[in-house]
Symmetry: C2
Subunit: 519 residues, 2 copies
Amino acid sequence: MVDVSEAHWSTKRWAEAIEARLTEGAAGDPLVNIRRGDTREFDALFLGGGAGGRFGAAYLRAMGGRPLIIDRWPFLGGSCPHHACVPHHVFSDVAAQLMLERTFSGKLWFQDLRGKTVSMLDIVEMFRRGRTGPHAFMNYQSAEQLELEFVLGQPGRLLDARSVAVGEQVYRARNLVLATGARARPLPSIADGIGGVFNYATLVDALNYEPGPTAIVVGSGKTAIEYACFFNATGRKTFVVSRQPPLALLPDAETRRFLIARMEEQGIEFVNPAEVVSCEDDASGRIRGVTLSGSQGPRRIATDFLFLGLGERPNSEEAHAVLGVDLDDDGSVRVDDRMRTSVPGVYAVGDLVGRPMEMFKARKGGTCAARNIMGEDARYQPRDYPDFLHTHYEVCWLGLGEEQARERYSNVVVMKLPPDNPDGHTVALPAGDRVMLYAMMKPELSGFQKLVIDGDSRRILGAFHVGYGAKDGFQYLAPMVRNGLTVDELGEMDELFLNPSYFIQLCRLRAGSRTLRSL
Amino acid sequence: MVDVSEAHWSTKRWAEAIEARLTEGAAGDPLVNIRRGDTREFDALFLGGGAGGRFGAAYLRAMGGRPLIIDRWPFLGGSCPHHACVPHHVFSDVAAQLMLERTFSGKLWFQDLRGKTVSMLDIVEMFRRGRTGPHAFMNYQSAEQLELEFVLGQPGRLLDARSVAVGEQVYRARNLVLATGARARPLPSIADGIGGVFNYATLVDALNYEPGPTAIVVGSGKTAIEYACFFNATGRKTFVVSRQPPLALLPDAETRRFLIARMEEQGIEFVNPAEVVSCEDDASGRIRGVTLSGSQGPRRIATDFLFLGLGERPNSEEAHAVLGVDLDDDGSVRVDDRMRTSVPGVYAVGDLVGRPMEMFKARKGGTCAARNIMGEDARYQPRDYPDFLHTHYEVCWLGLGEEQARERYSNVVVMKLPPDNPDGHTVALPAGDRVMLYAMMKPELSGFQKLVIDGDSRRILGAFHVGYGAKDGFQYLAPMVRNGLTVDELGEMDELFLNPSYFIQLCRLRAGSRTLRSL
């Protein structure tokens, strides 16, 4: 082991240590940051230092407790900076940038990308090199600013409800917090052992060739759509194959239609309902084609690149086998609203406890577990949260879609941009940062946004935004909407024009009216 | 005149009419949208259909009143879509995009822009062509959705406190709302009659040559900085000459330092305290150089392009001369918190009433005037509002800077990214949409953000963000901060990770502690 408890490494030093361990694979000695001389018992072992484990440990430490994090990776932060949120955002940024450059190819100062394919391998390798920076910062912040203790770089083995072994060393605590995350679901049996088949994790870890002109994505949820847009933006013909129509998680039909139309314009082909029934490989074992079955009959598509966006399975097997924690049908560890599993003293948080597999749920679950361990009666159940995904755009939403609202309310009012009008989407609004060139030269690409309102109570029921720069706003809007935010209150706020979401000003334009009308 | 009251023009038809009038100059007949058959007296004439006039009229109409807007331009929306917010956002979007492309020149798929100058004239002309779209939409929305009546395309002349003439036609109403805006201040006497000297309005209207390799900007406020970054991003050596240090309006020294360092890295040279004491012109009458005086002695800089960002002067002369409304020392029309001038029945709103010359103030002032005219006792004074500007980045802030907070509170806590650390800004955080490539390849460019907190009450005192995508969030954060938002409440919200502002998660990391510490 490498004792770093008094080393006070800088982010640069951490980056070197992490880099060495990631390139050596699992061979490095564990990095141990445990305060010598502190003889107190640990209040909790956090098995897994991702979003839930790290935030839970930080909160417990802030409350005066003593946590220990154990993680197989040589860095804290978990899958997010290594495989998930961070690369996803890098690739979505690339997709947005490439859509812009392709749209204006040869205009103004833009290079001509028409018909050109951009290297995916270069972009993946750029991320692979760049991710060490965020990893290093997580370790630095955790050690130096949050004063966390941790053992990194070797897997922890569950011994019992109070003990985890790392190699020969056994760590014990009053409580155990399971935070072992989830992993991508495979395509059962069909693609086993065939090369060129990736998920979000293996793409960034294992891609070692330049994919050809066609990419096939299986799935219809966030990951499938987000990666499909990235592959498409690099210039590859991209098929999205799914049983369900895409974007079903986005509860507003008009917003879905806008997004799907824009993706199709960029050249994405949606094939559904359909599924992959067989894969062929070439002499080297790499995929060379798939056969789909679907409502249109069987179809073969040649490709050397298949991406699976089929959701995730919680990493719950060891906890179930060793500790006997109860699982739900989907394999997630069952917890109550205090994050307690069926085994006393054992908590579970994050992707391990199932949906929504989102950052805020992991982190807030971690703090909820910490508070309970420290003697508070804290409760947490994710509800009424805002959500987002990326296409080539950033897409944010909260609350009810128009159809849902009309089922529950008799006087639904809608305010949107562009409005229904004889020229359709050829209106240069909404316009905001990052879409100004679209607004000026290609207005139908400048975005879409919509507020769904109960005309009787004047309360906001739902909000939808396609564009860029609204994600932060949706975070802060959500609790206000939950507390009954009205059109009149929203119209009283101070907009920072040109703001990405035009919600404030749209509300103000109608707020003078006792009988709200759509806009 | 052209009677459009029953024409129901589409945005496309409006665009054609506006385009024709803008290219003909003032020659077109006025576009008159007054409902024939409606014999009611007008409740208010809005002289000027920009932000204040249009929103005021829309609100008054929504309340059941009858407004009439008169504007010299053939479109509603005022200077914002024609000269101000919209082109500014176009140029700032260009600056952000070009900084990105220059930073990664020759890497990944990026073209090599090193040493290359991009045409400013092309970009200005692109905006000049594109602005008709937003203009057309404003007219469409105002006529078809907001049911506003208006007379556009010819200047209104004030006759008395109830009457405005357009050509031979006189319009009367119970009240008058002055909304005639402001205009850029000139450089007194020094640059009179010299070509190649621009302000934000004349740049987009009159630029007709490709500026050479050097741009000089005079001023230190928002407009000066924003346009300087645009000129710089096109590849021109850009000097910012001012009496005051730049960005004094941004109340946090560390945020200012971060921004100025980044602008200097991009090649902007700040010269202050200094001023332009003379301009030379060439045989064609265009500027060819300026002489500066300053603390470093006199200095001559050769240039064919001078931009003035010296603030604005309210267009109050006619109202003062004809109606006798009282003015403040800066030329703005004096109003009370009901938007009433010194002349009964005459209101004034927008840039005409002085600072802050911001969109929300104009629009909210307009609605406040409308409500008073319709018999309500409504009050409005802008206070505690969020603010923003652009460099190559989007910069948002609200509340107190760190120094201001330390003057007033004894226990100020700061949470920021990147934190103070041995490697400085080489930390790949904050990272969010539109900075992901920086975070991976050039982390010191990924941004800066800071929360200023009263450690005793745990309330947020100020927030600062340099990056992209936080503008919407600051709109919604502002009223919560005004109402006493605490670290604990902020830490309970649901972040949409990777969110541009890391405020929620930073707060959560510390919220467990009774004694708040900086982060």
